[in-house]
């Protein structure tokens, strides 16, 4: 039932594992009946008895402490077959487990009355001992009816054990006589009473040790049926005898002594609580482990969740590149167009018409000079022509004849030149034009 495998990958220390095995063993087998053959029997100075118990297949170490041994009615020795009630215990320093015996009795020995054997046989035949009729003992009983002598050591033992193992137990003691004539009846009635009251869920039927005669009530058929008919499970704890009583066979659980019965009836509270605490601890650590592991997973994912900052940086670089390319291209465009423009402007300037103006000006000035020159030349020719004519005219001036002594005669009256003397009459006034001056004359004679 305990956890034996851990797939959480947890690694045990030796001590821890051993401790867990110990509690596992001791919890699972608080008390066991075991049978086997004694060997290697030894009693060292301590007085405790050490031996191995074996059968044809296995061996197991056993010990019986001095106190328990004193109560035995026989001396155990090698080769002896025994039945014993023992706790299983693990000794941590050596990792060895052993059986610590509370009680030992020889197997198959003892003087048994024929009646006992007959009753046993008959009841067994009727099925009263059958395991299928055995009721389970409540793990944690709510109350226990203790049927025993009100004054005996058995009751004290039971109370002591119960106080030790389960301090807040509820005990309902039904005192009975455990030997003598009335004892059988009283015990049977006590069982009936417990079943009638139903205030408990377990019955301990106990008695201290005694002879077979003393135990007569426990070997009675009536008690056997009373136990068998009880709805409440019954644990027997009768005497220290090696022999079984009939009651032991019918009981749902048999303990060798009253205190052993109490031990079987009461779980060890401390142990149980530790077990629960342990489970709680396991529960806590399992959840904590899970949380821790999930925490780790989340953190690891978190660390892989890369911020998109680097993407942003990449894009920034790209944008810078684009922008600088844009700027460069734009500068290039402007530069290119400027150059083209400047080239054209230069071409335009070199085609500036001012040279043409200069040459035209020179051309006009030279034309003007030529015009003036030719005009002057022409004027000169005209002047010369006129002068020549005037000279010629002046040479032909009729007054030149007079300078050679000639004179011209004209009628004063009509200024007509006198060519013929016949035209003249006497006393006519004639003007004589000389080279220098004029004479006015009168005709005195005419020669014709």
């Amino acid at each position: 039932m305990m956890i034996t495998k851990k797939n959480t990958g947890h690694i045990y220390t030796v001590s821890k594992l051993t401790r867990e095995i110990k509690s596992l063993l001791e919890d699972t087998y608080p008390f066991v009946w075991v049978t086997g053959e004694i060997s290697n029997f030894a009693v060292p100075a301590s007085g405790h008895s050490y031996f191995t118990l074996k059968d044809h297949q296995a061996v197991i170490s056993g010990v019986m402490f001095k106190n328990q041994k004193q109560r035995l009615k026989f001396r155990p020795e090698n080769g002896m077959k025994i039945v014993g009630l023992a706790r299983l215990s693990l000794y941590e320093p050596r990792g060895a487990y052993q059986l610590i015996f509370e009680h030992l009795e020889p197997e198959g020995t003892g003087s048994i009355q024929v009646a006992f054997e007959q009753l046993k046989k008959s009841l067994s035949a009727k099925g009263l001992f059958d395991d299928k009729h055995k009721k389970s003992i409540p793990f944690l009983s709510s109350g226990i009816s203790v049927i025993t002598s009100g004054t005996g050591a058995a009751l004290r033992d039971i109370i002591n054990v119960s106080r030790r193992r389960f301090s807040n137990c509820c005990l309902e003691i039904i005192p009975v006589k455990v030997q003598g004539k009335e004892s059988e009846n009283e015990i049977c009635n006590a069982i009936f009473l417990a079943n009638q009251l139903k205030s408990t869920d377990l019955i301990i039927l106990a008695r201290g040790g005694g002879s077979l005669e003393d135990l007569a009530a426990f070997n009675s058929e009536a008690l056997a049926y009373a136990i068998f008919d009880s709805h409440i499970p019954v644990i027997t704890g009768v005497g220290h005898e090696t022999d079984y009583t009939i009651a032991d066979f019918v009981a749902d659980l048999r303990a060798p002594t009253p205190s052993a019965a109490a031990e079987l009836a009461f779980p060890d509270k401390k142990n149980l609580m530790q077990r629960i605490f342990k489970l709680q601890e396991n529960l806590n650590s399992a959840l904590k482990n899970e949380i821790a592991s999930l925490h780790k997973t989340v953190l690891s994912l978190n660390s892989r969740l890369k911020s998109p900052e680097t993407i942003v940086y990449d894009f920034r670089f790209r944008l810078e590149d684009y922008e600088s390319r844009l700027n460069n291209m734009m500068k290039h465009y402007i530069q290119y167009n400027k150059e083209k423009f400047n080239w054209l402007l230069q071409a335009l300037q070199s085609g500036k018409p001012d040279k043409k103006i200069l040459s035209n000006r020179q051309h006009i000035v030279s034309l003007l000079n030529l015009l003036t020159y030719n005009f002057q030349k022409r004027l000169q020719v005209i002047k010369t022509n006129h002068l020549e004519l005037e000279t010629k005219l002046k040479e032909l001036n009729p007054e030149a004849v007079l300078k050679r002594g000639y004179s011209i005669s004209r009628f004063v009256s009509n200024k007509k030149v006198v060519f013929d003397s016949n035209d003249v009459k006497l006393k006519d006034q004639i003007e004589v034009v000389l080279s220098k001056g004029q004479l006015i004359t009168r005709v005195e004679k005419i020669n014709g």
Binding site: M1, M2, I3, K6, N7, T8, P138, F139, L140, S142, G150, R156, I159, R163, S167, N168, C169, C170, L171, E172, I173, I174, P175, L193, L197, K269, L272, M273, R275, I276, L279, Q280, N282, L283, N284, A286, L287, N289, E290, I291, L294
Partner: protein
């Protein structure tokens, strides 16, 4: 309701839960649920252990057959 569940059953349940949790195959929510349920079982068990007060009584019958209950005075 709790009355109906025995100590043993609760302990068993708690043990099962611990086993499941230690197997590690649960999702967080289920693990928490299991954990809570486990704690409940454990508390239930502890309560059961602590619930009763120590009581030892003596049942006797008088001559007329009437049952008498009286505290047992051994302490």
């Amino acid at each position: 309701m709790a009355k109906k569940k025995t100590f043993e059953a609760a302990l068993k349940e708690l043990e099962e839960i611990v086993k499941e949790m230690e197997s590690g195959d649960l999702c967080l929510e289920d693990a928490v649920k299991k954990y809570e349920s486990g704690m409940k079982q454990s508390r239930y068990c502890l309560d059961l252990l602590d619930k009763t007060e120590r009581k030892i009584s003596l049942l006797t019958k008088d001559h007329e057959g009437n049952i008498k209950e009286e505290p047992f005075k051994d302490e």
